[in-house]
């Protein structure tokens, strides 16, 4: 699998998000310890009940394509070599949506609602890519 040419260096909660995924080899997302709602991206406080208590919970790494775009142009040195490329917003089984890179499906065969499996692919100790494959 291709590696990003420039690997991002996350900080703060984003760094914790990546560490949770890399340590367990599985996508984790935040869950409010008070009301139990899952959320993404990670934040300090629950937007529904305002509790500051949370954990990172493992996900099933499964969801459906909530939407997707097919990019035909890019300024990014990695993605410009993979044009056209499909980016998906995946609605996880747990509820929140995450952005991932689609692979293995021609853009013309993409359909909203398609079930996908997500794979964590660490690029460094601090950053992981998320790939989506048709499930």
């Amino acid at each position: 699998m291709s590696t990003l040419s420039v690997i991002p260096q996350p900080e703060g909660l984003a760094l914790q998000f990546h560490h949770a995924a890399i340590e367990h080899g599985r996508l984790h997302i935040q869950r409010c310890s008070s009301c139990g709602r899952f959320r993404h991206p990670p934040r300090v406080q629950c937007p529904e009940c305002f509790s500051p208590e949370w954990t990172f919970e493992p996900t099933a790494e499964h969801g459906t394509v909530y939407s997707y775009v097919v990019s035909h142009r890019s300024f990014d040195p990695f993605w410009v070599e993979h044009l056209p490329f499909v980016t998906v917003a995946v609605a996880l089984d747990e509820g929140p949506r995450v952005i991932a890179a689609m692979r293995g499906v021609e853009s013309g065969d993409m359909e909203l609602g398609m079930p996908v499996r997500l794979t964590v692919e660490p690029q460094s100790d601090d950053f992981t890519m998320l790939w989506a494959d048709k499930a």
Binding site: P10, P41, Y66, P84, A101
Partner: protein, 391 residues
């Protein structure tokens, strides 16, 4: 105790604009163009420049009111306002804020303006190359999702899926805009009409947007003046009375990384009812609409959410014939708009809405009573406006 409304309290009485240029092609500094547009608006209204006492803008405009006031030698500054967030979604909100200032008695003659010179300051909407990316972009940039086109395409794609419609409507919006631009001497795309074959054959930017689904990039400046309805009656031009306004968005719509609970929306669902209630009218009463086109798909969603047709019916109702002046059922973007006149972040749409009330548009709709503007779409906050020929 009066009702909480600004209906009929103020009017737009002057409009001014510089020549519109392609991105980075403006021969003048940005601030100079800003002053030009302000002075032109005052002249159009018949208001002496030194009676201007307030300013309102949006989209992080760089031209601070204190600086403008000093440059113009204004006796006093009484209102200095910027809409917070939303980029072009704040255009009608800036107008609404100016209306509120006049109605509240803070200021008498408030200019609403937008000015930009991208050659001087860099390309609008493009982040400077920084070694770090903060906030929500950290979750999208690694995936090559960085431009407004990509962000909004994701949303429009979902709308098209949910309602089984939108491709033909997008095309009709683009073709109507270019058609109107041909009659407009100010339009950048005058002399470059768009036919169906050219639209369909144009390159994909990011699916579902082709080249002609995207707004242009321009330099220039535009301004309007708001004053009380009483004063408006004594000035040079026919007043465009402000009858209704709304701004904002629904719960959770600011949640980032494509997690807004109501995703496939232009964000007008909570605003349209408030707008119509304040003006005391419904969509069937609107004679002409200027609807902000960052992308055609956003216009389609805006029009459906303002009640002009059901989302499932956009391809049937939003047709070239229905959208073109003078006789279409819903004349749209009658100056060419962001797609074909110029991308002045929607201030030119407000100006065109005023022209339609005055009867001076190059694509004039007969007997305009009610002229609407929507500013957005798909951002937060968004905003909208109804102007009227009568109070």
């Amino acid at each position: 105790m009066s009702d909480r409304t600004i209906k009929g309290r103020t009017a737009i009485v002057g409009i001014g604009e510089t020549t519109y240029y392609k991105r980075a092609q403006a021969p003048d500094p940005e601030f100079k163009m800003c002053l030009e547009a302000v002075i032109a608006a005052a002249d159009d209204a018949g208001i002496p420049v030194d009676e201007i006492d307030g300013f309102a803008s949006y989209s992080n405009d760089r031209n601070e009111p204190s600086r403008i006031a000093s440059a113009l030698g204004l006796p006093e500054l009484r209102f200095s306002n910027m809409v917070w967030g939303g980029g072009g979604g704040g255009g009608s909100a800036a107008l609404g804020n100016a209306v509120a200032a006049v109605a509240a008695g803070y200021a008498d003659n408030v200019v609403v303006f937008r000015a930009l010179a991208q050659g001087q300051f860099g390309r609008f909407g493009q982040a400077p190359p920084l070694p770090t990316v903060a906030g929500p972009m950290a979750y999208t940039m690694p995936y090559g999702l960085m431009s407004p086109a990509q962000m909004f395409a994701m949303r429009v794609q979902r709308f098209m899926h949910d309602h089984g419609a939108g491709h033909d409507a997008q095309k009709a919006v683009a073709m109507a805009s270019y058609h109107h631009a041909q009659q407009n001497p100010r339009a950048i795309m005058r002399g470059r009409p768009l036919d169906e074959e050219t639209y369909e054959g144009s390159r994909w930017i990011v699916e579902p947007f082709r080249l002609y689904d995207c707004c242009m990039e321009n330099d220039g400046a535009a301004a309007v003046i708001v004053t009380s309805a009483e004063r408006a009656a004594d000035l040079k031009q026919r007043p465009a009375y402000v009858l209704g306004h709304a701004q904002g968005s629904a719960k959770g719509q600011g949640l980032p990384v494509h997690n807004a609970p109501d995703y496939a929306t232009s964000n007008f669902k909570t605003l349209a009812p408030r707008l119509y209630a304040m003006a005391g009218v419904g969509p069937e009463d609107i004679d002409v609409v200027q609807s902000y086109e960052n992308f055609t798909g956003g216009v389609v969603m805006s029009l459906a959410e303002h009640g002009f047709c059901k989302p499932e019916e956009v391809d049937e109702f939003l047709t070239f014939d229905n959208l073109t002046a003078p006789n279409g059922r819903l004349p749209l973007n009658t100056s060419g708009g962001n797609l074909a006149e110029c991308y002045m972040h929607g201030l030119e749409l407000i100006i065109e809405a005023v022209r339609q009330v005055r009867g001076t548009s190059p694509n004039q709709v007969p007997d305009v009573e009610l002229s609407m503007v929507t500013s957005g779409p798909m951002v937060t906050p968004v905003s909208n406006l109804i102007l009227g020929a009568s109070r």
